[in-house]
Symmetry: C2
Subunit: 331 residues, 2 copies
């Protein structure tokens, strides 16, 4: 049997209530009795049972984190931001992978609510109406991180993907490129749709035609970047530049192009997206759109703490700034 608050109370000759007060830092305790209690705690090696506390207080100081895949360099960085801020506010994190699978996502949501988390940070791909329904039914606050919900009814933290893509493509356009390929992630992810919209707008702004042959869909992986270049190489009119939806795909494109004897950036300029650590681990180093993953996670968690404290929040939809980091994969 473990030592309980009751044991401490007896050892210190006070009531459980008093022990509870000193443990919780309640100031209404005479210093001398506080000392007595602290000594008893020390002597007995008492460690408060957070589960009992959670049941009584209806707060667990635990938040749920639903993430597509923690082994992804992108999400891992987000998770770090979330965890750091959680720690800062004395929360722990229950972390689960969803693989962007809707059933898993909804199941995890329920599991976490059953575990009485005080709030949830959700990262996913396609947010359906069913998702939104469940989110709204939740008894605890939920915030989306790097995840878009089209109607903006759920608090979220993102960058402006459309504008970011626009900026990246415009940069390539300014360098004189007329045929720019877009290597995108899965088309069903709203984020990729936004990026595509930005790509199109950039072309339109310059009065250039939109050519579907230049849109190549990958799955975010390095290998799909490799394949993407293979497809480009077969085009009658080859692109002179490519905008990739993620750094990893951009690396695949670069290496595949180099394997074909193409020199970067002379014959092909490449811009990535995210500015993961990969971006500086290639030669030439990758010009890329900076998406502040860590910050998105950190801000999302910070926002969640405000909801959990029932603080007033002015802006439920936060959009963080992005920028382009210029390196040697572009001229």
């Amino acid at each position: 049997m473990n030592v309980t608050i009751y044991d401490v109370a007896r050892e210190a000759n006070v009531s459980m209530a008093t022990v509870s007060r000193v443990v919780n830092g309640n100031p209404n305790v005479k210093p001398s009795t506080r000392k007595k209690v602290l000594e008893a705690i020390e002597r007995l090696g008492y460690r408060p049972n957070a589960v009992a506390r959670g049941l009584a207080s209806k707060k667990t100081t635990t938040v749920g984190v639903i993430i597509p895949d923690i082994s992804s360099i992108f999400f891992a960085e987000l998770a770090r931001g979330i965890e750091d801020v959680a720690t800062m506010y004395k929360y722990n994190i229950i972390l689960s992978n969803s693989d962007q699978n809707k059933e898993k996502e909804l199941h995890l949501l329920n599991t976490m609510l059953a575990k009485q988390v005080d709030g949830i940070v959700f990262m996913g791909g396609n947010i359906t109406e069913e998702h939104v329904n469940e989110f709204q039914k939740s008894p605890v606050p939920i915030v989306l991180a790097a995840t878009i919900e089209p109607n903006n009814t759920i608090p979220s933290v993102n960058i402006d993907y459309e504008q970011a893509a626009f900026d990246a493509v415009t940069y390539l356009l300014e360098k004189g490129n007329k045929r720019i390929a877009y290597v995108t992630g899965p088309a069903d992810d709203p984020i990729n749709q936004k990026k595509l919209a930005g790509y199109r707008r950039a072309l339109e702004t310059r009065g250039l035609p939109y050519d579907e042959a230049l849109i190549i869909e990958g799955d975010y992986s390095y290998d799909s970047g490799i394949e993407a270049y293979e497809k480009m190489a077969e085009l009658a009119e080859r692109p002179t530049a490519v905008f990739a939806g993620t750094d990893e795909m951009a690396l695949g494109v670069i290496h595949s192009a180099q394997d074909h004897g193409i020199s970067i950036p002379e014959q092909l300029e490449v811009v990535g997206f995210d500015n993961t650590r990969l971006a500086t681990m290639v030669r030439p180093r990758l010009t890329t759109v900076v998406q502040p993953m860590y910050d998105i996670g950190a801000v999302a968690m910070r926002l969640l703490t405000k909801y959990m404290n029932k603080e007033n929040v002015e802006n439920h939809i936060v959009v963080l700034p992005h920028r382009i980091e210029y390196r040697e994969s572009t001229k």
Copy 2:
């Protein structure tokens, strides 16, 4: 107020015990009453409170995971293995970053025990006596993953780092290399000491001298790999091969060498360690020692479930096999 087991009992005209039985799949319930209860649950939207359950049953179906840094490509992969197996056995995971900081590690251990986790997977660097003491005091089982405790008193899952390093260096030796640099991670991590021992044994076996100038300490990062090569380049007698303690440092070495006009593998052969996804994201692709990160995590978690179930475990120290993946960074 949320709906409780008591509400369901009333709604279904049964006792709480019966509701508890159907919720927990106890077979001692007449099918007709089971149905009645299930309907009541459905009607009321009842969701069992895991905290109350945890308090009553003394089991939380939650395990703690203490990890140095989830944003590291290496540990993130381990974490995925842990989480997948945890999910398989219906456990959730409380995940926290320690940054290999002893105080944080010990603090997290206590926090998790306070939260009544059913077990803990610990990943860290230097395991001190104090660590071992705390581990042994723990009321719940603990297993180490990719983490060495010199006396093997705590259950753990690893590969044979000494032998793996030996194999890698021997391979380089067999190719005729006489001067092989070793780019190591921090020397205070026992794992790096094991690798160093393997490096030395390989040299000794061939009767080659051990030259301290060839041991270059990095911090696991790409940049430290870059710097490591800079140092090598200044050596009077330059190495013809390098064995790097991690893939990321190996990439740094390769790129730095290439930036100096050295061609890989003709003028410098490079072997990495871990076989992270980075290994195939360089040109030339990296020959590396395969450390099965995912499996280490998965096996560690599996082992933990056995301890949690009080099953008999024959082997508390598990050593997974390693091998070398041959690619183009070696001749």
